[in-house]
């Protein structure tokens, strides 16, 4: 394959990954690495490096739109970024110690878990539980978001230590696999800390970029980020996710989500099989 053909194909694939990632809310990173390794036969380390760069681009690119809605909380984000950034450094450290096969198998497991989460969340209805949480006020994490009829709906944050620990785990995964691990972050905020779903997803988007930046320096120094590969991936995913965010209101999200879940599941199994056989 020549550079021209490869660049165009990778750009198109990344565009599709970004588009689907934005439409389903799962992010482009999870399908990008399997796409690059399984379809384009890129070394896993280059794939992870390129994916991490695209994660920073989409997180920052979408931020301006999210901010306008007024759901995200800068305090919750900054507080939890302490855990995710330290986790990201640990993850990037582990990435160089764990053999590629092990990373591929871990990646496969994360994909299957994401598929399971996506399947579950389409069937579960979320209920916000108001709680009395002294630490939520003490750490100034309590906040409010715009509800219907211009009324502000206030919320508090529960189980802060557990959420903090899970954020450390999300950061480690992000640093090891070059993904945003937005699904884990939303899970920690929404299910464990009982932060309203809209606040969780928008705040998670902000945190993803900072978390990824914490391992990007380490990736750069190790040579994981190849300009020729990272460039079309970053541009493709960014364009795809921006278009996806615009289409969100009109797209058949439920069907797309169903298809995406199946795709993720299949990719996860393939990553595990290939990692096990040492083909990556």
């Amino acid at each position: 394959m020549t550079v021209l053909v490869f660049t165009l194909l990778v750009f198109t694939g990344s565009l599709a990954a970004g588009l689907l990632g934005a439409l389903t809310g799962l992010g482009g990173g999870v399908v990008l690495v399997p796409l690059l390794t399984l379809v384009f036969h890129v070394d896993l380390r280059y794939a992870i490096g390129a994916s991490l760069i695209s994660v920073i681009a989409t997180s920052s690119g979408a931020a301006a739109a999210y901010v306008r809605e007024g759901f995200s909380s800068v305090r919750i984000g900054m507080f939890l970024e302490v855990a995710t950034t330290i986790g990201a450094i640990v993850g990037a450290f582990l990435a160089s110690r764990v053999p590629t096969r092990g990373l591929a198998i871990l990646f496969g497991a994360v994909l299957i878990y994401s598929a399971w989460l996506s399947w579950q969340s389409s069937r579960l209805h979320h209920v916000d539980v108001p709680a009395n949480e002294p630490w939520s006020d003490r750490l100034r994490l309590s906040g409010s978001y715009p509800g219907p009829l211009h009324r502000e709906i206030s919320y508090k944050v529960s189980r802060i230590p557990q959420g903090f620990a899970m954020m450390f785990g999300a950061g480690t995964l992000s640093g090891m696999l070059g993904i945003g691990s937005g699904a884990v972050k939303v899970l920690a905020m929404d299910r464990i800390m009982r932060i309203p779903f809209k606040v969780s997803t928008t705040t998670s988007n902000f945190m993803i970029g900072v978390t990824a930046a914490a391992s990007a320096g380490i990736y750069l120094r190790r040579g994981y980020i190849d300009p020729g590969l990272a460039a079309p991936v970053m541009l493709g995913v960014l364009a795809g996710s921006l278009v996806g965010a615009r289409l969100l209101a009109r797209a058949p999200v439920t069907i797309l989500r169903y298809i995406f879940t199946v795709v993720i599941l299949a990719l996860g199994i393939e990553m595990i099989v290939n990692g096990w056989l040492g083909r990556l």
Binding site: T7, R75, F206
Partner: protein, 125 residues
Amino acid sequence: MRFVLDDKRMEQTMGLLLRFGVVLASTLVLAGVAFYLQDHAHQPVDYRTFVAHPFSVQHRRELLAGISRGSAGAIIEVGILFLIATPVARVVFAVVAFALERDRLYTAISAGVLVVLIYSLLFGR
């Protein structure tokens, strides 16, 4: 009217800051790709085997030389560096904004995040 910096306004400014960073970075990367394709379009690709090309002090000198030559790879790398700097700039902004709000707790928390980021960018292995 006196300018009051509250959390909402802080986040809006952050959003604009991030968007500006991404536009700048992706413009550079796009220009770099265009130059790269102009020179290398018909060469074969190989990303199957990993060749570590670490970003070092040595490399930094190469990068500067590359920029002055207008090398495509160097332009893309500068774009990527701008992109990585974008979320870091957001945290720097948060430290300043919380300090202006006289919120000591969150000035300290954001400064902590900034220290972790700078540590990983400068010394992380």
